[in-house]
Symmetry: C3
Subunit: 645 residues, 3 copies
């Protein structure tokens, strides 16, 4: 199903009726509204102006559209910021981040909680039972513009409260953090300082706690909104629209509050933001890399416990990357179908009509700026709507054979202590995901500690702390497990485990990490044996008493195996990663379909979808019955088929 | 005529007499003094010490030198800054910019206006009728060191006043800025915040108004000084010494205050500061690029309404670029003659003698540091003086056949909203200028809205807002017009025009811009047809109902023509730009003389000047009578000739 | 002899006995302790807890270890910072640098001096006569993490006091600084402002004085500690552990306080931090460049007036560089012997056991993290201990034939006024040192003004101010002198000397510098003649009346000679530098042994040490008697031999 994001407050009321009608005509069924409208709902404290929204929702509902209403907390209005300046967040340099854009609040402010409760309650009460309303979105894009971690006085206050809960006494905090090092010992929780602006690096354990604290706050804040909404709006679901590659908080914990997850898919901007090579950036500039959106579809399907939407789908060029190309013709359609193939319930475009003013005026919409005239992206969306209608109900998404354990805390840990400047957790996970998808595999993301039963292959690219639940889940897994370097390298207090990494996994892997060598871009260590390639960036010196499948140049173990558990003792280069993934998938008896770098396939029930992100055609396997598309997959085209043998 | 910048206060009084005599002997006629001498004129509030300046001016005048006196406002002394700390400017991060160098004031401070009026009045009264005085310079190098825009409390106060004038009511301001987006609405002008330090980008309309406000302030401040001077110093002209590539304020508006413009020409430093390629930087490191100084000569001739000086001419290596090479032998002479060829009335060297102390001690002068001994640059200046004397009065500069419309606001707009990281307005204009000069064309700069009558070819590289006057001037133009991409893309409130760009120009061009694609450095879109090459950086998708002369790879229009109006829908690469310029000049029936990249020609009356910036010789056209120089133009040489056929 | 750094406070008391025993077994004789333990010695003001340190020192002493005790001033505890917030340093942007790591104090704070005196006195009194104690270390790594220069209110206060002493009156300060330039004149010392945060660059003379002031403070602060220690701890020596490539203060002046110098040798990190080319970085990533550690051994032997230790020797990978590779097997042993070859009395490893917590947990120790088990580096240290024992007492280090005059102030001067962005004083000195070492030469560092008698060759890469003592020492030198560009270019007040550079050296050299050209990386000026190559970066235009041995492309002098004094008028590229060094060494009759770029030799008494930092073997000269190692020097191996002919 398709949806769209709409801002009635941006357009003359006379146009709403036409807009609603044209949405329905295009094939749109859902419309998200309201998430930035606080200043229009409450122009001054306690002076509410709901009538316009009443009328807008009535018009949309009458046209047959289902409404998703956003709580307006992402944009507190000026009068509120002036009344409660303590809601303002602080950057890492200690500077307040002012009014004039969005997300100008810190989760630590008690006043902010009070005000958020107030406005959410009022909005939920008024619209909770509107006949057009089907669901809610809390806030908007938690974490966008680096807004999880704030470094102000309110944050310090809240951090101290959090630390008191976690560590109980100053002595225990000193012990946990190893404060004896450099005389950093505290005698009371009041002594705690923000872990920024220190002369050299602050204590990594303090930084990790500060990150955990902020992550916890996001989940708690979101839960507060959900609780209020549920009270006033029975029968409606709740979601939040997450972003791509924002790892500053544990999305799984926010997901626990929600009925379904959703995310905002802007594939092209990530070509500049993700650490691709220049060659990759040029290759994928106008289509995006074929795994960027799918990576997130799979991640958010897990965060939503099986259910997800794309809440905002890029419908043309955007405004926020260093360069913003027009997507190649066909890509808006392709991205939409790719989301559906991964199980998206709804793909909702951002936005109905390009704005003619303010920050996002260069962001395309389904309609040209200010006009009632479909943009090129709008025309593609129209085609998808027709195709969707012709296909009827799609089969459900099945459990994949491959699980990828994805751990937000490992991102925090490796940012705090990179040891190699280019040890980028998100890049590592992405490259493992890409390597598996090049084998035609469907992948489920799994949070640490969740059950791994039923998976033929479990991938653990990097999980720095393996807590008891994660350890138990790995022990209980019956499939093949591939564990990456740095896993088990820290305990819960950011300390090296008692008998060296991988700590509690030493028994399962049979290994002990004696030394770690990190390698600058010019250096690598060749790997040979069962799988071959090179180790780059991070390379461990193992002591092992198990089978060694591949070794580094000087004979050290690179890939080991004990029972069903493989351990890869480095950051693998492309060749080593591909070879290892092929080896473990084969070992796990999972059928693979190797695809070129510009082709991806994905199944949903008995349907297989194939997508062409590149410049050369690809032949759909001969054994298939085509449901949509052609047997020769042209550039920017897709085919849907059933395997008949 | 030649001049020089002199600082009597830097040298023992005993040397002034000799200095004046040696200046005259060298052939210097004008001397600029006084612009940094506040602490010597008023060592403490109200305690004036004019005697030294009286004596210095008397000595200079008696030696036969004509004096240009600078108002000393670029360097408020310490006692004044301590008394009135609110004159201190703030940087974009909100940090005050302290005492200890120069230009440490904000144009927004009311105290600063009061103090400026006071000192200018006192100086103008005392020296306004001095027999040696011929003219004044207001302040020094407005905008140098990023000093136009200040982000402090005084600036916010003044900005609110300015906004009240422009927008009348908060509602109209909200409407103009589109404040409804992200709940940024204001209920009073007191709500306005500085458009910096926001969580993500601030509203572009607010930023543009903030820029306009600062630009307006510069013009008003300068006018205040001019009004005082005119009252006390009848019969003397007024100028200001502008800088190169400082686009933070509208120089044309300051020019309106002045009798003539002047600028400070340091060609070599721009090799590092202008966005040249590394190859260009290496090629031009010791000569500068052949269009750097001419671009500004032509610009400031327009700002001065036909009259301009070079107030400071680089006489050797300077101190402020990342690297500071000694210019190739001959370049000081060549630059001087290039300025004269473009109509400079006087070329004044900075400075008479290299200082032995303080910030600019590595900056060459006409004399060696601390000595009465000509530097290599001094010897070249001496030669120019002799050559000038031998040539006698030069003919007047004529109106060119080519006009280049140059719009400061388009710089502000594209900095605020680049959309492509490398969309650099100044680079675009420079490349268009260069392409025209490679065809041997003389060029006049024209401000937006000024008459374009009489020009055979009008170049509009980029004018984001086409206001009524600019529109009318283009409509009235009878010559060929070449309009570049992004022109007409915004209305006066930074909004997209009602029926898409180019807004009011859609009738003249026959085009409508449906989408814009911005392309990273690795990408380009090939153009073929009447002119060929590639589009880079910025590439528009046009709807057109007029003649298409060239197209992009997929058939979209790249160059269109309606009557006398060409529209080029991209940032052209070198080949496309050269081909287009050749095509439109030919179409306009303008005779062209293609020159190699290191040769430039320029006419003044019936004289043609040719300059060799490179390493290989060039033959002066055979049809000429030589007035100066040789028929074979050696490296770093110049020739002056009359076309005889 | 070998030593180790030990932190009893990091480990359970039950392990101390074992640790001490295992140290002695490994062959360690010295143990440094205590330098970060303030919070454990004085957990709250006036509440002392010495018992644990008493016990630890007793255990170490009983085991036969000689103790070096550090004063704990590098890490003031939280309660002290809270009591005296004025001890906090400020960064160049004016931001306070907070508690939470180390070195969070400014030398300018009077409270800090009071508190430092107090704790040093208390510690010195308690332990000054402990039977195990042999020496003291003051503080820890002055200058690490950019902690010499602080930009806060306490610093301004102390700077004013210092200026009053140096300049006596505001008029003399104005004259010295050339404050008349840009009206920067002051009327009282209270007018002085910090030389940061100015609109454009501050006065270089002010910056230099600010730097000198901070440098002086370090020496005075260190002397204060030394005076207290000497009073309470008779018969014990004092050292400080300096760092590599920290040039922010004059180490020679601190050295004047000490009985011996020591430094902390982390060769691999400098591969990333020193301005090597990428090719060099890849080549030396796992061994370090062969001159990095030796350069400092020779420097600190001079700072210690002939006596030095390596107080902290890298024993494996560290944690603080962008990448931290494991050193190649053999390198820990090689580095240790290289230090000994250069005269180190003791090489002390950092640290006994890798920490499992806090900032340096990824820093290797002689034992694995948290364990009683030697690391690979520990095993190499063990081997060195055995080899040292087998060799017995080593002969003394002899005076070298080559002196390199090393002047900290020239670093400050060229940072303040680079004129070429890549004029890096430390790189210049390092390259001259490297070129001499490639000829097999031993080198002594000499401070400016110290006697140069007895040296066959004196190298002066760059000494911007040549004061009377330095001038006299050069005049008195009988050896060959090679003077580099920019020497003598400034007087004591950062002014250009009266008759141009090289000022007072113009008579010795016969030269006068008319112009300076600085060249961007793509440019160079070829040099031919007696020595050939190219000038890069900095190239002087000389007037000379002496012998010209080599010239630049256009005939200007590049290398001149007057009597025993050579002057090289540029930054030499590799070829020119090698040729020049060979020429002057030959001229000085010093025997040379050219070695490949990965081999270095060094003599100590009648022993010659050879080291192989590379991948290919090298044959020890045939004329030798081997004392240690093989005649074919394998990669990462060393040999010790006596020349027998
Ligand atoms: Zn969004
Ligand atoms: Zn100037
Ligand atoms: Zn250290």
């Amino acid at each position: 199903m398709l949806g769209v994001c709409y801002y009635p407050e941006h357009w003359d009321e006379a146009r709403w009726e036409t807009d609603a009608r044209r949405m329905v005509e295009l094939g749109i069924r859902f419309v998200r509204i309201g998430e930035f409208a606080w200043s229009r709902l409450e122009p001054a404290r306690g002076q509410f102006a709901f009538e316009w929204l009443d009328r807008a929702m009535d018009i949309l509902a009458r046209a047959g559209l289902k409404i998703v209403l956003g709580t307006p907390t992402a944009t507190p209005p000026k009068w509120l910021v002036d009344e409660c300046p303590d809601i303002i967040p602080y950057d890492k340099d200690g500077k307040p981040r002012g009014f004039g854009s969005r997300r100008h609040y810190t989760f630590s402010s008690e006043n902010w909680w009070k005000e958020s409760k107030r406005i959410v309650e009022i909005v939920a009460e008024r619209y909770g039972n509107h006949q057009g309303l089907v669901g809610w979105q809390t806030d908007n894009e938690y974490g966008c513009h680096d807004t999880i971690i704030s470094w102000g006085p309110e944050d310090l206050k809240a951090f101290k409260r959090w630390l008191r809960m976690r560590h109980q006494t100053p002595d225990q905090l000193n012990e946990a953090w190893g404060s004896v090092f450099w005389s950093m010992e505290l005698t009371s929780f009041d002594d705690v300082a923000l872990p920024n602006l220190t002369v050299t690096e602050p204590n990594p354990a303090a930084r990790l706690d500060f990150w955990r604290f902020h992550s916890d706050q996001v989940a708690a804040y979101d839960k507060m909104q959900c609780d209020i909404i549920r009270k006033h709006s029975p029968g409606r679901w709740i979601t939040h629209n997450f972003m791509g590659f924002i790892l500053d908080f544990d999305h799984f914990k926010v997901g626990d509050n929600l009925d379904l997850a959703s995310w905002d898919s802007y594939p092209i901007g990530f070509v500049e933001k993700f650490p691709f090579s220049e060659a990759e950036r040029n290759r994928w500039a106008e289509t995006s890399h074929p795994d960027i959106a799918p990576f997130h579809h799979d991640l958010y399907r897990a965060v939503g416990n099986g259910r997800f939407w794309v809440m905002e789908q890029q419908p043309g060029p955007v405004n926020w990357a260093p360069w913003n190309p027009v997507p190649k013709p066909g890509m808006v359609r392709l991205w939409t179908w790719e989301a559906i193939a991964h199980g998206a319930e709804v793909v909702s475009y951002f936005r109905w009509r390009q704005a003619t003013f303010a920050q996002e005026q260069m962001h395309a919409g389904l309609n040209l700026a200010g006009l009632d005239e479909l943009s090129p992206g709008g025309i593609e969306a129209q085609r998808v709507a027709q195709e969707l209608a012709s296909l009827g109900t799609l089969p459900d998404t099945r459990k994949a054979r491959v699980a990828l354990v994805f751990d937000y805390q490992s991102y925090w840990t490796t940012v705090i202590q990179p040891q190699a400047k280019d040890f980028r957790f998100e890049e590592l996970c992405f490259r493992w995901y890409e390597a598996a998808r090049r084998l035609g595999l469907d992948i489920d993301f799994v949070r640490p500690g969740a059950s791994l039963e039923g998976y033929g292959l479990v991938l653990v690219p990097c999980m720095t702390e393996v807590d008891e639940a994660a350890h138990a889940a790995l022990k209980a897994a019956s499939g093949t497990i591939l564990i990456g370097a740095r896993t088990g390298s820290r305990d819960r207090n950011f300390r090296i485990p008692e008998n060296l990494p991988p700590g509690s996994l030493s028994e399962m892997t049979g290994n002990r990490v004696i030394q770690v060598s990190t390698l600058r871009p010019g250096l690598s260590d060749p790997v040979s044996g069962i799988v071959a390639g090179s180790g780059i960036r991070w390379r461990e010196h193992l002591q092992t008493d198990v089978e060694v499948l591949s070794t580094f140049a000087h004979g050290d173990p690179a890939l080991t195996k004990k029972d069903n558990v493989y351990y890869l003792a480095c950051w693998p280069d492309k060749n080593l990663l591909a070879a290892t993934m092929r080896h473990v998938a084969t070992n796990a008896d999972i059928p693979i379909v190797e695809v070129p770098d510009h082709i991806r396939i994905r199944t949903r029930g008995d349907l297989t979808f194939a997508f062409n992100y590149g410049d050369s055609p690809w032949s759909v396997p001969a054994c298939c019955e085509l449901v949509l598309g052609e047997p020769i997959l042209a550039p920017q085209e897709l085919s849907v088929f059933r395997f008949t043998r």
